[in-house]
């Protein structure tokens, strides 16, 4: 400990000479020495300030290679999978999907790769969409090296719940690598739901990318709109149970670099789901506008007219709005930490 104190003395002594240094630097031609009293951080070098465009973003102006990833957040945002449809004898619609789990390395920030677990090779998985009362048949094949399940939110029998230990007598429960199982149930209630793996350890199985949006439309369709899929997610790249990169639809800052283009005065409907792991709460904030919010989408009457909503894990809701003015409008988590770690984007409103 003596050694510490001794050096601290030396250090202290050094600082006490700061005033002398200031005098000395004035005598010198360059004057590079700076007195301790100045506030160096306060005045920004204009060149340095210009380097970052004022808001957060990744370095080097790099962008993620969507082609290599096999999915593009700019396409995912409007990608709805209605499945293969068949008419049943009772007149109802049967919808069929194939979901394949696979292990895949994806790029989630420029140059930063993550060993993800995916449904159909993408994160988030496909947005499955149907109508209230449809018969749904989801064939799940596990091509991953780990056992998984598909657990749907909604109303269905126990053995179709995609939980280890349930429905094993009919081949369900935990689906081992190379195995498959078909989940079959009726769609309902109408609203915005989600599906995700329910294998243990749960947080890891979800956080690695095994989730997707599950939309059940009301029998009487909602008004036509420009519909958008937004899955709020994040990635714990160094396995410390804390996320390093936050995003909407996986790639941080994607919509900052490639704004979501919408039309002025046209109805925009956002399906928003929070699948964030390791952080208890997420939020959505829209700049310079307000939206009607339909929690879980289970009512056709909005619960709130606001510009900021919060969602806990698994919570979701539908947002409806129009943009009265052209231009760029930011949207991001109002948990600003998440925003500056990737969960930030732009709408670009164009005239009709």
């Amino acid at each position: 400990m003596v050694a510490f104190t001794r050096r601290r003395v030396l250090s202290s002594l050094a600082a006490s000479l700061g005033a002398v240094a200031a005098g000395a630097s004035q005598l010198g031609t360059s004057g590079t020495a700076t007195a301790a009293g100045e506030m160096p951080g306060m005045d920004h070098d204009p060149a340095a300030a210009a380097a970052h465009s004022g808001h957060a973003g990744f370095a080097r102006g790099g962008i993620v290679d969507s082609a290599a990833n096999g999915f593009d957040p700019s396409l995912i945002v409007r990608d709805f999978d209605w499945g293969r449809t068949l008419k049943l004898a009772d007149g109802r619609t049967l919808r069929e999907w194939n979901l394949v789990a696979s292990d895949k390395e994806i790029e989630i920030a420029p140059g930063v790769r993550y060993a993800a677990w995916t449904f159909n090779g993408r994160v988030p998985g496909p947005t499955l969409r149907c109508v209230d009362g449809d018969r749904l048949r989801i064939r799940f094949s596990n091509g991953s090296a780990h056992p998984h399940t598909v657990h749907f939110h909604g109303i269905h029998p126990s053995e179709m719940d995609g939980v280890p230990g349930l429905g094993e007598d009919i081949g369900g429960g935990l689906i081992q690598p190379g195995q498959s199982f078909t989940y079959e149930f009726d769609a309902g209630p109408f609203g915005l739901h989600l599906y995700h793996c329910h294998a243990s350890p749960l947080a890891a199985h979800i956080a690695k990318g095994l989730y997707g949006m599950f939309i059940v439309d009301p029998k009487e369709p909602r008004a036509p709109a420009d519909e958008l899929v937004m899955v709020m997610n994040a990635f714990d790249t160094n396995f410390d149970f804390g996320n390093e990169i936050y995003a909407v639809n996986t790639v941080g800052f994607h919509y900052l670099n490639s704004p979501i283009k919408v039309k002025r005065d046209a109805l925009v409907r956002i399906y928003l789901v929070n699948v964030l792991e390791y952080d208890p709460i997420n939020s959505f904030h829209l700049h310079a506008n307000f939206f009607h919010y339909f929690p879980t989408g289970t009512s056709l009457v909005p619960a709130e007219y606001t510009d900021t909503i919060s969602q806990v894990q698994g919570q979701r809701g539908i947002l409806e709005l129009t943009f009265p003015y052209p231009g760029k409008y930011m949207f991001h988590a109002h948990k600003t930490e998440f925003a500056e770690l990737g969960w930030m984007g732009f709408f670009e409103v164009e005239d009709q």
Binding site: G31, P40, E340
Partner: protein
């Protein structure tokens, strides 16, 4: 056993060289072939790459946080993104990828504010996080004439002035009895023992931070061995020359004083490095009280230099030279430490200082023997403890 008795065969110098080089040449050949064949028989290492990037230094300039990193690990590391206080930040670096032992400077654009704390995460291509911390942000001084002037002044305050002040005890020493001188030399040894402990602890502390690729704490001990051997060699060379010239007790005293000055000088070089580095890193607090406290603390080093020459009549020039030799390196150290800080180098030099001082102690020790030839007796032990105690106490006095 018989072979040992046999005389070595007569061999020419060139042949001897050849005999020595053959194994080396064979080894080099094998390495080349092994590498060319792609290390046959050895499997690839399993598991993800080992990313062991070390942040050696953080410098703060207006709007910029600059990190000097070195790859201590076996695998190449790519820093692809930088997070400052929970937000991604723009940055530039020289290299896309750092191979083993490669170093780079990462310049992060960030509007940091003086006095605030920053947590930096370097995000690698595999998603790994290299953490770095700025406990208190203070602008790093840029090296310029004014800055070097300041460092010189600092070194003078810390090294030269206290040592020269301590040397002013010489007239008192001259009027002292031999028994008193012996106690004072014991006292000096006590001071030096404290300095060894101090230097080793400080060296180990510094070696523990930053890159470990060059040996880490081992550098302190290696430095100590080097310091001891170098000073021992210098000593024996001087001794043989001194005997060739005139020799005598007078020269012996001066000779010892010189050794003490060199030892303390090496110590102060390491000390200067630490001060300069601390100043450059902005890890500072201030107070005039501390200057005074430090002067008291270090003045005893001057006493150590002059104690061996109590019976001599060295010229003022010689004394000034000794003082500069003991204290001056603090200035050089401060310059180097502030402009090109390298933890490994500082740790090594602190070790060198400790080793040199150990050698000085070995040289001084015989002079505390009393008329009866005893080495440790109540007065000498008291002197030793006194020396240790004074530095310990003054170090407490100035600690804040």
């Amino acid at each position: 056993m018989n072979a040992e008795a046999a005389p070595p065969p007569q061999t020419s110098g060139a042949r001897l060289w050849l005999l020595g080089l053959i194994p080396l040449a064979l080894m080099a050949g094998i390495v080349v072939i092994f590498a060319a064949l792609g290390a046959p028989g050895l499997a690839e290492r399993r598991g993800p790459p080992v990313e062991n990037l070390v942040v050696d230094k953080i410098a703060l300039h207006p709007g910029v946080i600059q990190l000097t990193v070195r790859n201590d690990g076996p695998d190449a590391v790519s820093v692809r993104q930088v997070i400052v206080n929970d937000g991604f930040a723009n940055f530039t670096s020289k290299y896309e990828q750092l191979t083993r032992l490669a170093a780079d400077t990462i310049r992060v654009d960030y509007p940091w504010i003086e006095g605030e704390a920053y947590e930096i995460s370097l995000l690698t291509s595999t998603g790994g996080v290299i953490p770095a911390e700025i406990p208190v942000a203070v602008e790093t001084p840029e090296a310029g004439p004014g800055f070097y002037g300041l460092m010189a002044l600092l070194g003078t305050y810390v090294g030269v002035i206290p040592v020269l002040l301590g040397m002013l005890w010489l007239p008192l020493l001259r009027r002292s009895k031999p028994s008193v001188i012996r106690v004072l030399i014991a006292f000096t040894i006590g001071l030096l023992v404290f300095l060894i402990v101090d230097a080793l602890l400080e060296g180990i502390e510094i070696a523990g931070q930053g890159s470990q690729a060059f040996g880490g704490q081992a550098l302190v001990y290696l430095g100590a061995i080097v310091g001891y051997l170098v000073l021992a060699t210098v000593d024996s060379t001087m001794r043989s020359r001194g005997q060739a010239a005139s020799g005598g007790a007078k020269a012996g005293g001066l000779h010892l004083a010189l050794l003490v000055a060199v030892g303390i000088g090496l110590h102060n070089l390491g000390e200067g490095l630490a001060i300069g580095a601390a100043y450059a890193a902005g890890a500072l607090a201030l107070g005039a009280l501390l200057v005074i406290g430090f002067a008291i603390h270090n003045t005893t080093e001057g006493l150590a230099v002059v104690a061996p020459v109590a019976k001599n009549r060295p010229s003022l020039k010689t004394l000034a030279g000794l003082g500069l030799l003991a204290g001056g390196p603090a200035i050089v150290g401060a310059w180097i430490g502030a402009s090109a800080f390298n933890g490994s180098l500082v740790a090594f030099l602190l070790g060198v200082g400790a080793g040199a001082i150990a050698q000085v102690i070995v040289q001084l020790a015989p002079f505390i023997r009393n008329e009866a030839g005893q080495f440790l007796y109540p007065k000498s032990a008291g002197g030793l403890l006194g020396g240790i105690g004074v530095l310990y106490a003054t170090s407490l006095l100035v600690s804040v």
